[in-house]
């Protein structure tokens, strides 16, 4: 039985087409459709319910030590109010999940994890804790709304005091009021645009959602579903767990090496990645130049040899073409070269490009 987010009734009232996703019932799109929703975020603003995401908090004298051991990025130079992205790896260097970390205090860190991995993450984290640290799972008490797009700041200013709005990307403010509700306001997102993610108590979710939607009306803000969330992240070249990453792929093999700090004293997966050395595969972007749309798991060829497979792919509405991400052997597929992607039995040409297809 799927769970409902606190905004479920609101989505239904707005005409959202509800689908099961990661154990939750969420709108894949509203009557406006994926393309209109996608374009709203690129040009104006869109509002997403992301309450399905999980929030796990580690606190206590050994909280930092545990975060350092669990995650591949470095957190010892982080300050209160900062947000940092990181993979979390298993002993073999494969990715358990990718997440973002909020430093609440020097001895308190909030990790926001993928809904689909929440149970796996909670079990993984709690079974690897050492020392004096407390594990708390707030996932079913916290709602999250993402306001994304160039108009986001102008909209947020109408329901949140200007001085409480985080000024820089990947920073946040806490204990601030959004529409009168106590919230964390984070300048982060998953769309490739400027924007905010607002965390509040689940009881306040409807009030925060409605206030933002109302405030943003004249700015062109519309509600957006999971469909646009996926096309937006793909167009911006952002990886999605289960596609560009999984328990078998190391962060280095999927273009996330800059989030793996090998000079850090130790972390889970470090030894395995040391032994593997420099990866021979990479994540690349493919611009489909032939007719067709490559989806995930399409074989990629150079001549007769398969060099890898696609991990995600769709038609990107803002760029107006088909794009895919792929994990391929490095050598035969330099930037600018032509490869072939097999789409339902037919090979179509594609150009190897940088994975960030769209940059604001």
């Amino acid at each position: 039985m799927e769970l409902k987010t606190p905004l479920y009734d609101v989505h239904v009232a707005l005409g959202g087409k509800i689908v099961p996703f990661a154990g939750y019932l969420l709108p894949v799109q509203y009557p406006t459709g994926v393309i209109t929703e996608h374009m709203a975020v690129r040009e104006k603003a869109g509002l997403f319910d992301v309450s399905h995401m999980g929030e796990i908090v580690l606190s206590g004298p050994d909280a930092l030590n545990n975060v350092q051991m669990l995650l591949t990025n470095n957190f010892d130079d982080m300050e209160d109010g900062q947000v940092r992205y990181s993979p979390m790896c298993n002993d073999k260097g494969g990715v358990v999940d990718d997440l973002i970390v909020y430093r609440i205090r020097s001895d308190c860190y909030m990790m926001v994890v993928n809904a689909a991995n929440h149970d796996k993450d909670a079990a993984w984290i709690s079974s690897h804790l050492t020392g004096d640290v407390q594990f708390e799972d707030y996932s079913d008490r916290i709602a999250q709304v993402a306001l994304q797009g160039p108009q986001s700041e102008a909209i947020l200013e109408k329901v949140c005091a200007k001085e409480n709005i985080p000024p820089k990307y990947y920073t946040y403010t806490k204990d601030v009021e959004v529409a009168g509700c106590r919230s964390i306001v984070s300048r982060t997102g998953y769309t490739g645009e400027d924007g905010f993610e607002v965390y509040c108590a689940k009881e306040d979710a409807v009030k925060v959602w409605n206030a933002l939607l109302e405030a943003g009306k004249e700015n062109g803000l519309i509600p957006c579903g999971l469909g646009a969330r996926d096309t937006l992240r793909l167009e911006a070249g952002m990886p999605l767990y289960g596609h560009e990453m999984n328990d078998e792929i190391t962060p280095k093999q999927t273009g996330l090496g800059i989030f793996v700090k090998m000079d850090k004293q130790d972390f889970i997966g470090k030894k395995a990645m040391e032994e593997m050395g420099t990866p021979t595969v990479k994540r690349c972007g493919l611009k489909i130049t032939g007719r067709g749309i490559a989806r995930e798991n399409c074989p990629v060829y150079v001549g007769d040899r398969q060099i890898g497979h696609t991990t995600s792919g769709t038609h990107c509405p803002y760029l107006g073409g088909a794009y895919a991400m792929a994990i391929v052997e490095k050598e035969p597929a330099p930037l600018g070269s032509t490869v072939e992607v097999e789409v339902r039995g037919k090979r179509i040409p594609a150009e190897v490009v940088k994975v960030q297809f769209y940059k604001r």
């Binding site: 894949v28 459709g33 994926v34 393309i35 469909g227 769709t314």
Partner: protein, 126 residues
């Protein structure tokens, strides 16, 4: 949008128009385009290709997924709506204007529904 009464309908959500000259036009129903969402790609057969009852003759892709389009008749493709190749959104805008293929030499037809029966079928499905 209501389903035109001069067309016949397949349970797999294609419509068929008898052109009166032994040829039939085939397209996707309005229900189908709504379910599929914004279409961004259409793949059609070529003139002269044979189509077969119940077999896929082409596909349409939305941003999210690809779906086969099945032929409600057996015959030979005598025309395709080339405009759709560059403008797949025409199916979203006018499902009953945006025919996909025209078929002649029809040798077989599946049991097709009237507009009324198709609507009854849709309400059972829902």
């Amino acid at each position: 949008m209501s389903n035109p009464t001069n067309l016949l309908y397949a349970k797999s959500h294609e419509w068929v128009q008898d052109m009166g000259d032994g040829t039939y036009r085939i397209g996707l129903t309005d229900y189908a385009q709504k379910e599929l969402g914004d279409l961004v790609f259409v793949n059609l057969p070529q003139e002269g290709d044979e189509v077969e009852v119940g077999a896929a003759f082409g596909d349409v892709e939305s941003v999210k997924a690809v779906s086969d389009v099945y032929s409600p008749v057996s015959g030979v493709v005598c025309a395709i709506n080339e405009e759709l190749l560059d403008h797949p959104e025409m199916i979203n805008q006018d499902a009953y204007g945006a025919w996909m293929i025209q078929v002649n030499e029809v040798s077989d037809k599946e049991e097709l529904l009237s507009a009324e029966s198709y609507e009854a079928f849709l309400s059972e499905e829902a």
